[in-house]
């Protein structure tokens, strides 16, 4: 994937607000994720149906990398079982950390593979994944 394609994926997902809304329903579990060293700050709303992630929405303010990675990641997580979701996150975070990963699992998230080369921006690219992982691990 060349730089232009990656950029397009990042921007398309940055601008795609299909899952970007505040939720007040008690069916959703709300968690906040923020980066204290910068100013990224989002709320995540996650709805489970037994072992399946029924829905995820998010809202807040953050940089293009944080918003876009959140937007794309949750598209992949919706409808998955907790184990499947953890597997996607694990592969994604491995890519960010420069470790081995399965590209077929993280699909377009590969657009963020350069981010790991900028240590200060790893926290942006994992703003959502860190928190969702934490929540999913608790529910396993």
């Amino acid at each position: 994937m060349d730089r232009e394609e990656k950029r397009k994926i990042i921007l398309d997902n940055y601008n795609d607000d299909i899952n970007r809304k505040e939720i007040s329903s008690s069916d959703y579990i709300k968690v906040n994720s923020r980066n204290f060293s910068c100013i990224d700050n989002i709320d995540l709303y996650i709805k489970f149906n037994n072992n399946i992630i029924d829905d995820i929405k998010f809202n807040g303010e953050a940089c293009v990398i944080a918003i876009s990675s959140t937007s794309l990641l949750i598209k992949y997580l919706i409808g998955k079982s907790v184990e499947e979701a953890l597997n996607i996150i694990s592969n994604y975070e491995n890519m960010i950390d420069g470790l081995s990963y399965d590209q077929s699992i993280i699909k377009d998230l590969i657009a963020f593979d350069d981010i790991g080369k900028q240590p200060s921006r790893k926290i942006c690219a994992t703003l959502a994944s860190r928190k969702i992982k934490e929540l999913l691990e608790k529910s396993v």
């Binding site: 950029r7 990042i10 940055y14 910068c38 100013i39 940089c63």
Partner: protein, 398 residues
């Protein structure tokens, strides 16, 4: 102006983050270097030539600070690690002892964390109440609103002289008149004003004033607490040890050194004090009124140029100081900062340690440009050009 004095400016960067910290002129760097290469010693009272020299430099620095802010005497100058230390020292070492449950402290929603959080802690610890003076539509403090906020329980007004985001200059002198008529103490955070405008503690008649050296061309880790002598006399030391005691004996008797030495236990930040002293010499050489005048001219130019860009939102047009808070419309402030950094333009993005200000200006994060006299109109022109090309912003940062 005076760009040749700053070696950092040879590194091909445009530095617009002077509200966070300033660059250091050679004079300051050399003064610190001299201390470490020509006369390193602790500040004793003259056991040998170098220690005497260090002692003289230390006392001379205190006098220079006193003259710089027009304190009545150098005894009113306590060296600290910075404005945060100074403010915490005053809150926990003075006000905690004299305030009681129900007493009120007036402040505002645009203060820096260091002049809010210590008061929040006192609220929990001893039951004082922190109240906010209402800001006007330009987010400024007016005398009328201060008057409106004062009641019979008000004991302290704690404000920045100039705030670090909006940057409005508060009418401190008038506020002190109002406060002192009702026996209210005034604590002023001068961190953002000290290098940019004349700060005269006697003219303002403040009770306590805090600032840091590193925002006034001096080194980090050194700052000042000014207190009226009569108030410092009411204070006990926070730390005990060497340097602050005159005599002590095995039965626990301690006789303290004079004020303010009794507040400076242990070996002090000598290089910091020497650096601060040099920074004051440097500012005096240029003249604070020349600095103010030139910086105001720069800010007017910056505002004029930014206003020509219809995709820029400016949050503090009406104020006349070094700070300009803005955003590119629909772009997250940090993305703007990262974009500008590609052109070696350093600005700050975020909430600038004023995390409750968003309740007033309804925008959480802004880009902040804070100017210094070493900035130029050419640098502003470069910034404007880069902003003009910001339709490619994402292309450049992704």
């Amino acid at each position: 102006m005076h760009r040749e004095d700053f070696e950092m400016l040879n590194n091909n960067i445009v530095y617009f983050d002077n509200g966070a910290t300033t660059f250091k002129p050679k004079l300051v760097v050399n003064a610190i270097n001299d201390y470490y290469t020509k006369y390193t010693a602790n500040a004793h009272r003259g056991d040998y030539k170098n220690s005497l020299l260090v002692n003289e430099k230390y006392d001379e620095a205190r006098q220079k600070v006193a003259n710089f802010i027009n304190a009545e005497s150098s005894s009113e100058i306590v060296f600290t690690s910075g404005a945060t230390h100074s403010l915490n020292f005053v809150v926990f070492n003075y006000f905690k002892k004299i305030l009681k449950k129900g007493d009120e402290v007036l402040t505002t929603l645009s203060e820096h964390a260091s002049n809010l959080l210590p008061w929040f802690v006192l609220e929990k610890e001893i039951g004082i109440k922190v109240k906010y003076i209402e800001l006007n539509e330009d987010y400024e403090v007016t005398l009328e609103n201060v008057e409106k906020a004062i009641n019979n329980n008000t004991r302290v007004i704690a404000l920045a002289h100039i705030t670090n985001v909006i940057g409005d200059i508060r009418p401190i002198k008038d506020i002190c008149v109002l406060a002192h008529r009702r026996d209210i103490k005034v604590v002023v955070d001068a961190a953002q004003s000290i290098a940019h405008t004349k700060v005269d503690v006697r003219d303002l008649d403040v009770d306590f004033l805090a600032f840091s050296a590193h925002k006034m061309y001096g080194p980090t880790g050194i700052g000042v607490l000014y207190g009226k002598y009569s108030l410092l006399e009411e204070m006990e030391p926070l730390f005990y040890g060497g340097g602050m005691n005159a005599i002590y004996s095995k039965d626990g008797y301690i006789e303290l050194m004079e004020i303010p030495t009794r507040f400076e236990a242990g070996t002090q930040n000598i290089e910091g004090v020497i650096g601060l002293s040099a920074a004051i010499d440097y500012i005096n050489k240029i003249g604070i009124s020349n600095i103010s005048k030139y910086e105001e001219e720069l800010r007017d130019y910056l505002i004029k140029k930014l206003k020509e860009l219809d995709f820029i939102e400016i949050y503090n047009i009406s104020d006349s100081n070094i700070n300009v808070a803005f955003n590119i419309k629909n772009v997250f402030s940090q993305d703007t900062a990262i974009y500008l950094d590609k052109y070696n333009i350093c600005i700050r993005a975020g909430n600038h340690c004023s995390k409750v200000l968003n309740e007033v200006i309804s925008v959480n994060n802004t880009c902040r440009i804070s100017l210094s006299f070493y900035n130029t109109k050419d640098e502003i022109d470069l910034l404007i050009n880069v902003l003009k090309n910001s339709k490619n912003l994402y292309k450049e940062i992704l």
